[in-house]
Symmetry: C2
Subunit: 234 residues, 2 copies
């Protein structure tokens, strides 16, 4: 399952159907491929981008995962996103030309690097690419607003259920199991993201395990009763 390091191209990348090139013709994909570079692998806790750093590249996740977060006035971390393979990192920086958040690897992570200037040039010539970029931002926008609504008004177990189902769906989209997966982030990260304390996350996971909705073993989660989890998420 390991990709050969030597030659990474969109044409043979397993994430292509989810990633920027997903709707491009072969010719267009080849053109996009010429501007894309490899990024050196990140290890757990390595920073990919730092808030305030000038935006030069968008990054596409090839494997692994990352979290994006901001620091509030008191220096407290505030997680705003988790990134999985196929995701693009950097959209929120387009407006100012500088990154607005930190992005850190949660595990060993491989990335592609897309120079922004070249991407802009290409998008003038390739309508499909242009629309794809817009489309990906639009999706992210919708997801983000939806999340705001879904989380704000719901009880703790509904929030966590919603979070797990979201992950499940994203894994399934990537051709992985949506029923059984590994949480690369800590319980504290999850709590920070969905607005609950670590203890509450832990307690709810335990309870859902007791109720045979989930099977939880450390970082590994198996969804035993998808229907009940969905009902919980409301």
């Amino acid at each position: 399952m390991v990709n050969t390091i030597s030659h990474i191209h969109c044409q043979n990348c397993s994430m292509a159907p989810l990633c920027l090139p997903k709707n491009l013709s072969e010719g267009d994909m080849a053109r996009l491929d010429t501007i894309i570079q490899r990024h050196k692998p990140l290890h757990k806790k390595d920073l990919l981008v730092t808030a305030d750093a000038p935006l030069r590249y968008l990054y596409a996740v090839r494997s692994g995962s990352l979290k994006s977060y901001t620091l509030d006035d008191h220096g407290v971390e505030q997680i705003i996103d988790f990134h999985l393979p196929g995701d693009l990192v950097g959209f929120d920086a387009l407006a100012t030309g500088r990154h607005r958040s930190f992005t850190q690897a949660l595990e060993t992570t491989m990335l592609c690097e897309i120079p922004l200037n070249s991407l802009d040039d290409l998008s003038a010539e390739m309508p499909v690419l242009r629309r794809e970029l817009m489309s990906m931002m639009s999706s992210e926008l919708y997801t983000s607003k939806q999340l705001l609504g879904s989380l704000n008004n719901r009880a703790a177990d509904a929030r966590l259920a919603h979070f797990l189902l979201g992950l499940s769906q994203r894994f399934a989209d990537r051709g992985l199991s949506g029923k059984s997966f590994r949480l690369s982030m800590t319980r504290a990260d999850i709590g920070n993201y969905i607005g609950l304390s670590v203890e509450t996350i832990s307690r709810i996971l335990s309870r859902l395990q007791h109720e045979n909705v989930l099977l939880v073993e450390n970082k590994l989660v198996e969804i035993l009763a998808m229907d009940r989890l969905e009902r919980l998420a409301g």
Copy 2:
């Protein structure tokens, strides 16, 4: 202060510095202007777009205000956005080509209608317009994610303070008073949006009034102590 109805053009629209044309040259603005149409005025409670309806136009708010919301499985309204003059409505629909939410006028509202096909064509030829579109989406994305973080982990009064400061800033950006403004949405709308009950909104407004941070008279709000409100928002 009333705009003449007969001829509305970007070139003489007071919202242009905030809206899509904000960074365009005169020539480019004139080209954009040719594709923009007027939309008939909406009255309070009129729907601008319905979820699932095909996306044909982006809308720019000229005056008035709107709310966007989705309906959850139980038919419960979930507000995801408030739109003020200069805002563009419809970005979240670009991905699917269909609107994903309802958008309803909160008061009498005037809009411009921007046909999506023409906009796409123009953006191929006008790099500045293309980047402006991306930039506006990026801003909205950042705001949305930031909001998620800011709201999720904070106490009720911090949430409301954050909401009021956000509105204040947006009014100020539009050349209106950031200290004294009218809430076109109901308390219930605010509560829905920031995840609190109507009663809590009302109580906190009363308390902030007692503490001389705000002056509240029905829909009218005056910020008396901006610094204390900011400290509250954390």
